[in-house]
């Protein structure tokens, strides 16, 4: 007698990747010993190491064990499974579901290996996690000849930057941009998740030779890499290497940015926190705040200008791989703000002010209204959109149903599928739970 578990977040090769968001799964009995139903318990195979999981028959009530009764005729029984916050995986398949007979001291009817794949603080990654990320990124770059050049092209020309910066769609556009890149990295190595740079804390492990490179503070501003780090072959715009000179001590200091707490206060205190105040507002920049999207200035802009070199200017910033870790933290901050203030419903003004489409009443610039599709994935070119579309369509993957081939600004908001399970995008952060903060 054995059981078979099928989880609805498999990749093309049949490997399962989970986040903190519950996904539907089924279990069925095979080769039953009798015609009677069988009581089984689902649990973590080893609760002392690896990613941990939780289970339930309802999406909002999960626990580390689940009792189920399986009919002998092999009919499937549905349940939900998710990563058990904050216990994520560090390697592919290190989270193992054990199905065993209820009351049995030992033995398993089946074991199913999955990965609780989450975006982590880059400063805390293991050497193996660092190496996987760096190797995948360098492979995507392929010394300037790889797909990365299209990501670089998306963030260069003035018309392209208008789609991404200086308006409320800034966070949605970059959430899509990061997810697009992450999905390409996962085609190279599915165990990779984008790490984030907590720029409000010292993060010496990021600025090291085996990760994103070390700049000799007493030297000429060279970015140095270890002999096995493939980022030493990084090439963009036909030029080798990275130009990056920090304005702060990367070993002991932090970037010149506001703290997480100060950032989360922009837009006001809960329950009235707002994303954006809409047109016609004229905030006094020190004593008032008029929306969470002000974070595009501080900490986002300040993190960029904490360096000289490529990352300092919008048109050159993606030439430095640090760009993606910086923006991953910007996106994480939005995720924390959403969780803390319950801002997942795009139809609410406090979640997103410009809820129409470009050209409609009370709309803003094209690409920044909730109902606007986003360039370049929408393949719409010509003024006021840019003249070409370097990446289209958005990559669709079997592990997550959203955001589709031509995502809209509003599609990026409910990224964990809290309000609609079909909005789940297959990524999450190690310190942002699924759901909303308790009242």
């Amino acid at each position: 007698m054995r059981t078979e578990i099928n989880i609805s977040s498999k990749d093309a090769a049949g490997r399962t990747y989970l986040t903190w968001a519950p996904v539907r799964a089924t279990i069925k009995l095979l080769e039953p010993a009798s015609a009677d139903p069988v009581r089984v318990v689902l649990s973590n195979n080893d609760s002392s190491r690896g990613g941990q999981l939780e289970f339930g028959t309802a999406r909002d009530r999960l626990a580390p064990t689940l009792n189920l009764t399986l009919p002998a005729n092999g009919a499937e029984i549905a349940f939900f499974v998710a990563g058990d916050f904050p216990k994520s995986s560090s390697a592919d398949g290190d989270a193992v579901i054990k199905s065993a007979l209820a009351g049995a001291a030992r033995g398993a009817l089946s074991t199913t290996s999955v990965m609780v794949r989450v975006r982590k603080d880059a400063n805390t990654l293991s050497p193996a996690e660092r190496a996987r990320f760096v190797t995948a990124l360098a492979t995507l770059n392929d010394q300037g000849a790889g797909l990365f050049k299209n990501f670089r092209a998306m963030h260069r020309e003035s018309a392209a930057l208008d789609q991404a910066h200086g308006a409320p769609g800034f966070l949605s556009w970059h959430r899509a941009y990061l997810l697009d890149l992450e999905r390409e990295l996962q085609k190279i190595n599915p165990s990779v998740a984008l790490p984030y740079w907590r720029f409000d804390r010292p993060a010496p492990n990021i600025f090291a030779e085996d990760f994103l490179g070390r700049t000799n503070p007493d030297g000429f501003g060279n970015v140095l890499f270890s002999s096995s780090n493939l980022l030493r072959f990084w090439q963009t715009d036909g030029q080798a290497g990275i130009s990056r000179r920090p304005n702060f001590n990367v070993q002991t200091g932090r970037a010149n940015v506001s703290t997480d707490a100060t950032t989360l206060l922009t837009g006001g205190a809960r329950p009235n926190a707002i994303f954006d105040s809409g047109p016609g507002q004229d905030p006094e920049p020190v004593t008032s705040s008029f929306g969470f999207d002000e974070m595009e200035g501080n900490p986002h802009g300040n993190a960029h200008t904490s360096f000289q070199g490529h990352i300092r200017s919008a048109s050159t910033a993606p030439r430095d791989p640090l760009f993606f870790l910086l923006h991953c933290n910007v996106d994480r901050l939005w995720g924390v703000w959403q969780w803390f203030n319950n801002r997942f419903d795009g139809t609410q003004a406090k979640t997103y002010f410009f809820r129409g489409t470009a050209g409609s009443r009370s709309s803003t610039d094209i690409g920044h209204n909730l109902g606007d599709t986003m360039w370049p994935w929408n393949n719409v070119t010509g003024a006021p959109r840019p003249s070409n579309a370097p990446r289209t369509p958005f990559p669709v993957v079997p592990v997550a149903p959203s955001p589709g081939r031509a995502p809209k600004v509003g599609d990026m908001i409910d990224y964990q599928g809290l309000l609609n399970a079909n909005s789940r995008q297959g990524f999450c952060y190690d310190d942002v739970p699924y759901g909303i903060a308790p009242p």
Binding site: P86, L265, R312, P433, A437
Partner: protein, 320 residues
């Protein structure tokens, strides 16, 4: 996730936000006091916009004004008057250099909000170009760096003229070469050869990195990679540059170095890593002589990381 874990997280965050709100309120109060102590000519501004009053008041301590700038970034691009005030500060050579530097940084931050910043784009560019001849070396270097990375033709002309002895250089000569070479459409190879010939280890490494855009540098790069008297970091960089410039040529040389037990382990590691991850698979695994030599490397424990990497390449063979 247990409810207690979510509750704990929320409680911690709530406390941090409360502390942050208190700190902000107390700063706003200090700011109003500071503004009131300043120049009476700014009295009308003090009432409504204490931040603007402090920012524009050169009689106040630089530290007080820099702190305002540090706290301004959030909504700055929405306020034309603040952008204009910062442009004035940056271009005012009589103002404090720390305040000017902080204002320049903040303009860089505002420039990231591209669409909102567009009305000020030209004025910002002009301010940066003006700073190239400023008396303050830090401001000069920051401006030259920002402009050079964006391939600004005016700063390129200034750097080129300075290198040719036709004008003053706004930054040290070595930095001028490095920054001019940000644009590989210019003929920078003679300057990079100069930097390589006379520079420190770091400067030679940069010269070698930047040479990778110039096919005529191939022989130089090959010579650097072969030169055992050269610093390790420079040779490692030459491996990357040569691979970018002439991959097939590099692979032949990398095979030679990787299997030469008398060469340095770091250089052999770079060669092996490159062949493993970026090399042409047919060229690597179709070369029987190389694979045979690699077997010996894998068995040679005098350099364990090199041996391990060699074994890893052999294990990755399509035939395995």
């Amino acid at each position: 996730m247990s409810e207690s874990a979510a509750q704990k997280l929320k409680d911690e965050l709530e406390q941090q936000l409360s502390d942050s709100a208190s700190a902000r309120d107390s700063y706003v109060s200090e700011l109003e006091d500071a503004a009131a102590e300043g120049d009476a000519a700014l009295e009308s501004t003090v009432q409504q916009e204490p931040a603007m009053a402090v920012l524009c008041d050169k009689t106040l301590p630089a530290k007080t004004r820099v702190e305002v700038l540090d706290r301004l970034a959030g909504a700055i691009s929405r306020r034309d008057d603040y952008i204009e005030a910062m442009l004035e500060i940056v271009q005012d050579a009589d103002d404090d250099d720390d305040v000017r530097s902080a204002a320049l940084n903040l303009l860089g931050t505002a420039a990231f909000q591209v669409a909102r910043f567009r009305p000020h784009e030209q004025a910002y560019l002009q301010a940066l170009r003006d700073l190239v001849s400023d008396e303050d070396a830090n401001l000069r270097e920051a401006a030259v760096d920002t402009l050079a990375v964006q391939h600004d033709p005016e700063v390129q002309q200034t750097l080129l003229a300075g290198l040719q002895g036709d004008g003053p250089l706004p930054v040290p000569r070595e930095r001028a070469i490095q920054l001019l070479a940000e644009d590989d459409h210019l003929d920078n190879l003679p300057w990079l050869r100069e930097l390589y010939a006379g520079g420190s280890d770091d400067e030679r490494q940069e010269a070698v990195r930047l040479m990778s855009a110039y096919p005529a540098a191939r022989e130089t790069l090959e010579g650097v990679l072969r030169d055992r008297d050269e610093a390790t970091q420079v040779r490692q960089q030459s491996a990357a540059s040569l691979h970018n410039l002439a991959p097939e040529h590099f692979e032949n040389l990398a095979k030679e170095i990787a299997t030469d037990s008398s060469d340095y382990a770091e250089i052999r590691m770079v060669s092996l890593s490159t062949l493993q991850h970026l090399g042409d698979s047919d060229s690597v695994y179709g070369d029987a002589d190389f694979l045979s030599a690699l077997q010996d490397v894998g068995a040679d424990e005098s350099a364990p990381p090199v041996a391990e990497r060699a074994r890893s390449i052999i294990e990755g063979s399509p035939e395995q």
